[in-house]
């Protein structure tokens, strides 16, 4: 009897296809319910199987509850089990019907057959209906005292289930004391092990609220308890041994003799066939010897062989789990594994998640004696069919180059990569050559010769392109056609989508200009013009900055842009030591696989409520730092979001989407709560860094209408029409006052487009009692400084306003004597500004 092969995948209840069959089943079950004829059990079995198979594929058969319970009066154990399974599945959704089952379950709990008693008790505790808790207590008490260990074993877990249904009942009925007694006295080890699991889980969750529970949890780690478990460890099943070892790993021995005693006792666990036991023992050894440096080293040597065996045996999934742990240890103590590097060679057919870890380990263990072999091996992978792995291996070669003293041979290999004429290989190699040159400028001659042969047309990836452009700028004196390549790139400015590349292009052309002025001048002009018109804020700012710098003094500019550089000695490490240690403390758990401490993936506040983020399992170390930063930002965003009504959100969106390329995503962040991914990607891509101030500014700007709405409306702000302020005072005030508001808004595009000189705007603003004190800039960018004064008092507002006519967007910074009024003033200012251009 097989379940019907259902092709539809939806797990939604009561599917049309199942409906008629369910009612069919219902009538058949009814017929059999009272029947006691011989052989009726067989037909019941067939029916039950059908019901269970429907249940499995997601058809809702809860309507059969009554009939199923009626049919459950049987002595056939398989029938009983199917019935228990069914009841367990649907009781929670049908608490009233669940009451029907209590009767027969309680009866079964007193059966002469311990098997039946156990099964019934297990099902009784699996009903998960809060108002039936009272019926659980009695059978559980009996179960814990049963003379059969099978029943006791079930009852112990039953207590844990009860705790999850109703913690107070579990604690009040004093089950915990019984469990504790059983744990320390029961002859059956599975009962003992289940007690340990249950008590650990219950006391850990109680510990936050009850001092007694946290004392009890500590008591589990006391010497007598730990020794009791250690002495019996060989009697335990392999799974229970894992549990015990986990407990021992947390135990703090009083002196070194104790440590050695425990290690001697557990030494043979390293030869256990179950890899989980071996790994758990390794954890004990590592944790016990943390404070004893010499012994800790010996432990590493001792566990090497078992770990390598585990990696090479079992399914890819198992070896991945072990490999993640080996990876952690290799990164912690690479020198210990440096002779075993051959174990980390990749096999052709290995899955890429295994290869990736192996590549990282090869990188870590590379030292003077094995570098040649490792790099040779890595170069083999560069031609791999699996492109991500090929990329990883090239990066690995680069990392090794950066951590070695003698890079002679490696540089040659890297340069060979550049000649392989595969786009992704070239791209990765370019990035590496750039980093290499930053650390070892002495290799510039060899590298530049090869890099010069690369056609920039073949380089498309932003990172690689940026690297190439950096080298063009940095070594423009050695590369004959550097100015011309740059000029070509600048001509295609508009087609260049990556802001990172455009930023690099600006800097490179500046550097090139200082070395070869006559050839580069034209390109520089073009680049600056393009940069000033760029919609990306960073690019625009940098262009403006260079422009001003050149205007001010060329030699100063040279000193700023192209100073003599010192070679980088060490590149920053991405994982903080604290995080590494936390992961190490959580050895033998998911933390090691995810390479992040458990609070980052189990605590609610570190995950979005609905995010299904791919970033989570991303093993790149870069995400780590981003992760830690993000939560704070997001909480902020969420809070703001709660405050905003939808209408206001839309308003805000309009304001920003008109021109600002980078503030738009930050609104989506606030709005959709799926922000984790986007904020990670934002903070990871340097060229696209969200200027944190602007994100906050946006939020402030948005928060503003709420405040005016909720607080009693302040008296309307009247401005003095004939305000006077001399430039000296303005400058002084501008320096002294903090910025009280800074935001972006859009202005009527048509009006601004016709704006050839700012004078028209000045007159317009003056009619709103806002006076201009200074102005400058050229199309498309104007910068204006305004001031205004309150009509009644001499409180002044200062405004810096940057208008970009091509994007019809302004940036406003307001400073005020009276900070509290600055919001009101800002509205006034924006209203005035938005009216500009209308007749």
């Amino acid at each position: 009897m097989a379940p019907p092969a259902q092709s539809h995948r939806s797990a939604s209840p009561s599917q049309p296809s199942g409906k008629s069959e369910v009612s069919d089943l219902k009538s058949q079950l009814r017929q059999l319910a009272g029947n006691r004829a011989p052989g009726v059990d067989d037909s019941k079995r067939e029916l039950f199987k059908k019901v269970i198979s429907y249940m499995t594929i997601g058809i809702d058969v809860s309507s059969l509850f009554g009939e199923m319970v009626m049919c459950s009066a049987t002595s056939d154990i398989v029938l009983k089990k199917m019935c228990y399974l069914y009841v367990g599945n649907y009781a929670k959704g049908n608490p009233d019907l669940a009451l029907l089952t209590i009767n027969f379950l309680q009866r079964d709990c007193k059966d002469v057959d311990p098997m039946i008693r156990g099964l019934a008790l297990r099902s009784l505790c699996s009903l998960r209906v809060a108002n039936l808790v009272e019926y659980l207590v009695g059978p559980l008490e009996l179960g814990l005292k049963d003379n059969n260990s099978y029943v006791r074993m079930v009852a112990v877990i039953g207590v844990l289930k009860l705790y999850h249904i109703s913690a107070s009942t579990c604690v009040d009925e004093d089950f915990l004391a019984t469990l504790k007694h059983l744990m320390l006295n029961d002859p059956d080890t599975q009962v003992v092990a289940n007690c340990l699991s249950a008590l650990q889980e219950i006391w850990s969750s109680e510990a936050s609220t009850s001092e007694e529970a946290s004392r009890e949890r500590e008591a589990l780690l006391s010497k007598p308890v730990v020794y009791y478990f250690l002495n019996r460890i060989k009697e335990f099943s392999e799974w229970a041994q894992c549990l015990v070892l986990e407990l021992v790993a947390k135990y703090v021995p009083s002196d070194s003799n104790e440590i050695f005693d425990i290690m001697n006792l557990l030494e043979d666990r390293l030869q256990h066939a179950n890899g989980a036991v071996v790994l758990a023992s390794i954890k004990v050894f590592m944790q016990l010897t943390l404070s004893m440096t010499d012994v800790h080293q010996q432990v590493y040597e001792r566990i090497k062989a078992p770990l390598l065996t585990l990696v090479s045996s079992g399914s890819p999934e198992q070896s991945y789990a072990v490999l993640s742990h080996l990876h952690l240890l290799v990164i912690r103590a690479p020198y210990i594994f440096s002779e075993d590097y051959k174990h980390f060679y990749c096999q052709y057919n290995e899955p890429s998640y295994v290869k990736k870890l192996k590549l990282e380990m090869l990188t870590a263990v590379a030292n003077e004696s094995n570098t040649y072999e490792i790099v040779t091996e890595l170069c083999e992978y560069a031609a791999n069919v699996d492109i991500p792995i090929a990329r990883e291996s090239i990066r690995a070669v680069g990392k090794i180059a950066l951590q070695q003293y003698d890079v002679n041979a490696i540089v040659d290999r890297l340069l060979q990569f550049l000649e392989m004429e595969k786009d992704y290989v070239t791209a990765e190699a370019l990035v590496l050559v750039k980093d290499l040159l930053r650390k070892y400028p002495q290799w510039s001659h060899d590298c530049i010769a090869v890099v010069g042969n690369i056609s920039s047309k073949n380089v498309q990836e932003p990172k690689a392109k940026a690297a190439l452009i950096w080298m063009l700028g940095e070594y423009s004196q050695d590369m004959h056609d550097a100015p011309y390549i740059l000029e070509n790139l600048i001509e295609n400015w508009d087609e260049e989508h990556s802001a990172e590349v455009r930023l690099h292009l600006l800097t490179a052309v500046m550097k090139c200009f200082f070395k070869r002025p006559p050839e580069t001048q034209k390109a520089l002009g073009a680049a600056l013009a393009a940069g000033l018109a760029d919609f990306h804020q960073d690019v625009h700012d940098r262009a403006l900055f260079y422009y001003r710098l050149l205007q001010y003094n060329v030699s100063v500019a040279e000193h700023v842009v192209n100073p003599p550089k010192q070679a980088v000695s060490v590149f920053a490490d991405t994982h903080s030591n604290e995080i590494k240690d936390r992961i190490f403390d959580e050895f033998n758990s998911l933390s090691v696989v995810y390479q992040k401490p458990s609070y980052m993936f189990t605590d609610k506040e570190h995950r979005g409520p609905f995010e299904f983020s791919d970033e989570h399992v991303n093993l790149s170390p870069g995400t780590e730092s981003a992760d830690t930063v993000v939560p704070a930002q997001r909480v902020d965003a969420n809070d703001k979001d709660l405050l905003l009504s939808t209408a206001e959100k839309d308003e805000g969106r309009d304001a920003s989407s008109n021109g600002s390329a980078y503030s738009a995503p930050s609104y989506d962040i606030a709005a959709s709560q799926t922000q984790k991914e986007s904020s990670i990607s934002n903070s990871n891509i340097p060229g696209n860094t969200l200027p944190s101030s602007s994100a906050i500014d946006d939020l402030l700007g948005l928060g503003f209408p709420i405040e005016t709405a909720t607080t009693p409306t302040p008296p309307p702000l009247n401005l003095n029409q004939k305000a006077i302020l001399d430039p000296g005072t303005f400058q002084q005030k501008w320096r002294q006052l903090p910025i009280s508001l800074s935001q972006e808004c859009s202005i009527n595009p048509e009006g601004v487009a016709s704006l050839t000189a700012p004078n028209a705007l000045l007159r317009h603003m003056q009619s709103h009692s806002i006076h201009c004190i200074a102005q400058g800039g050229q199309p498309p960018n104007f910068k204006l400084f305004f001031f205004a004064q309150k009509a009644e008092e001499s409180s002044t507002f200062l405004v810096e306003c940057i208008i970009n006519t091509s994007s019809a967007k302004t940036q406003i910074k307001i400073k005020a004597d009276d900070q509290s009024a600055s919001q009101a003033f800002s509205t006034l200012f924006q209203t005035a500004l938005s009216k500009f251009g209308f007749p």
């Binding site: 999934e317 031609a383 959580e586 090691v592």
Partner: protein, 438 residues
């Protein structure tokens, strides 16, 4: 926390649920959907067996045409979870008699639910030993052993076995003929460079046993491994015999082996479970005898022609022979036509895997057959230089040969009734990942 699985699902390759067992309430009911949408239907499938989706972590494994998925919501022990799945599958196999696939699951789903109930409770692994479970979970579904045949198995004893200490063997077994079968199965992993130097080489071996022995026998196994021999010569105070001794890098044993005695006396002594089991596993990296040497020469003659010559040399004894030898020689994707000459076996071009597949059913020792092939390629402009030569891969089995040189010196069976036992010992070496770069 060891495993604390919240749910276990069995899915077929299309994503239909075959088995669905919820252990805890801390995950939503839509976890199968999450798995389907975020793992099965994306390219992520196969990129990593551990994934986080929302607040839950998914561990999944593909076994034949079935995915087994464990969902957890805590910081679980991954290694333990995967080991649990592997053990559970071998338990199911021992119930179904061999295959574990979609059909077997569909045909036995009630039994699987029964077993899932016993082997895990509220997410904690319980008893997974087939010997014990078979006592009270039977495919026939008769009444439990406790009450059905009270005379055969007294209750206190049987229950002790259900949960208890000597988990791997029950008492009172009787066989007419007492037999022990012992297989040493080794798989050789090799990675050889194109220049013929060994980059990486190791042997992982298993000692598999099948015991049909009455009563509670004590077994003792002696191998020609270095530590064991040295210890023995020390104990008997006579010099180590000359001859080959094997240095094992690492050994792990079935739980029945008395590890304390192994560590003190270096002998493998144990009370075996009934039937089939894996007694020990070992790994060796030094002094491996490679059964085959492969000497490839691949010449690219211009853009459209290649010449492939491969010589395979068998280095084991002339009286032995290898079975099922398959040599896969990679060729470029744009292969149009191939011509072969082989001195032994048969070869053909398999376009699906872009390989010349050369099969030799029976390959005697100390011989060296060759394959020479001419490969014509379609000339394409686009794929210049793009052929990354994958390695040559080899499959084989060599009976009565161990790549490590490991031999059984003795296998002693002692039982208090003093019966005679027949012992059978076999050796076989298989190819693990046997790769030669070219």
């Amino acid at each position: 926390m060891p495993v604390s699985a919240s749910a276990i699902y069995f899915l077929n390759l299309r994503g239909d649920v075959l088995i669905n067992r919820l252990y805890r309430d801390d995950v939503g009911g839509n976890m199968v959907d999450a798995f389907r949408v975020h793992i099965m239907q994306t390219k992520e499938l196969g990129t990593c067996p551990v994934r986080q989706i929302g607040g839950c972590s998914f561990f999944y494994m593909r076994i034949s045409n079935v995915y087994i998925v464990i969902v957890v919501s805590s910081n679980a022990n991954v290694a333990c979870a995967f080991k649990f799945v592997v053990e559970a599958v071998s338990l199911f196999k021992s119930y179904f008699g061999g295959a574990f696939d979609e059909d077997a699951i569909r045909n036995n789903f009630v039994l699987i639910y029964e077993l899932l109930d016993e082997i895990m409770d509220f997410g904690y692994p319980q008893n997974l030993s087939p010997e014990i479970l078979k006592l009270y979970i039977t495919q026939e579904g008769v009444r439990s052993p406790f009450s059905s045949k009270p005379t055969d198995r007294p209750v206190p004893n049987a229950t002790l076995q259900v949960t208890g200490a000597v988990g791997w063997r029950r008492e009172g077994l009787v066989y007419k003929k007492n037999e022990v079968f012992l297989d040493i199965v080794e798989s050789v992993n090799l990675l050889m460079s194109s220049k013929g130097s060994v980059l990486r080489c190791d042997v992982t071996g298993k000692v598999l046993m099948k015991c049909f022995l009455s009563g509670m026998p004590d077994l003792k196994l002696g191998l020609n491994d270095k530590i064991g021999l040295e210890k023995e010569s020390q104990l008997k105070s006579r010099p180590t015999k000359s001859g080959k001794t094997i240095e094992l890098d690492d050994v792990t044993f079935h739980q029945c082996v008395n590890l304390t005695r192994f560590n003190s006396e270096k002998t493998v002594s144990f009370v075996p479970p009934d039937g089939e089991f894996e007694l020990m596993k070992y790994r060796i990296t030094e002094g491996v005898n490679l059964p085959f040497k492969v000497l490839p020469t691949i010449k690219e003659l211009g853009r459209t022609r290649m010449e492939v010559n491969v010589k395979v040399k068998s280095v084991f004894g002339a009286k032995m022979f290898a079975l099922g030898v398959v040599i896969k020689i990679p060729v470029p994707k744009q292969t149009a036509k191939t011509n072969f000459q082989v001195t032994s076996g048969r070869a053909k071009y398999n376009a699906a895997i872009d390989c010349l597949v050369w099969k030799i059913r029976k390959f005697p020792g100390q011989t060296e057959p060759t394959l020479s092939a001419e490969v014509e390629l379609i000339s394409t402009m686009a794929e210049k230089k793009s052929w990354t030569k994958p390695p040559i891969q080899m499959e084989f089995q060599v009976p009565m040969f161990t790549a490590s040189g490991l031999r059984v010196r003795f296998l002693k069976v002692w039982e208090k009734s003093g019966y005679n036992t027949v012992e059978w010992v076999r050796y076989i070496t298989k190819a693990g990942s046997y790769e030669i770069r070219c």
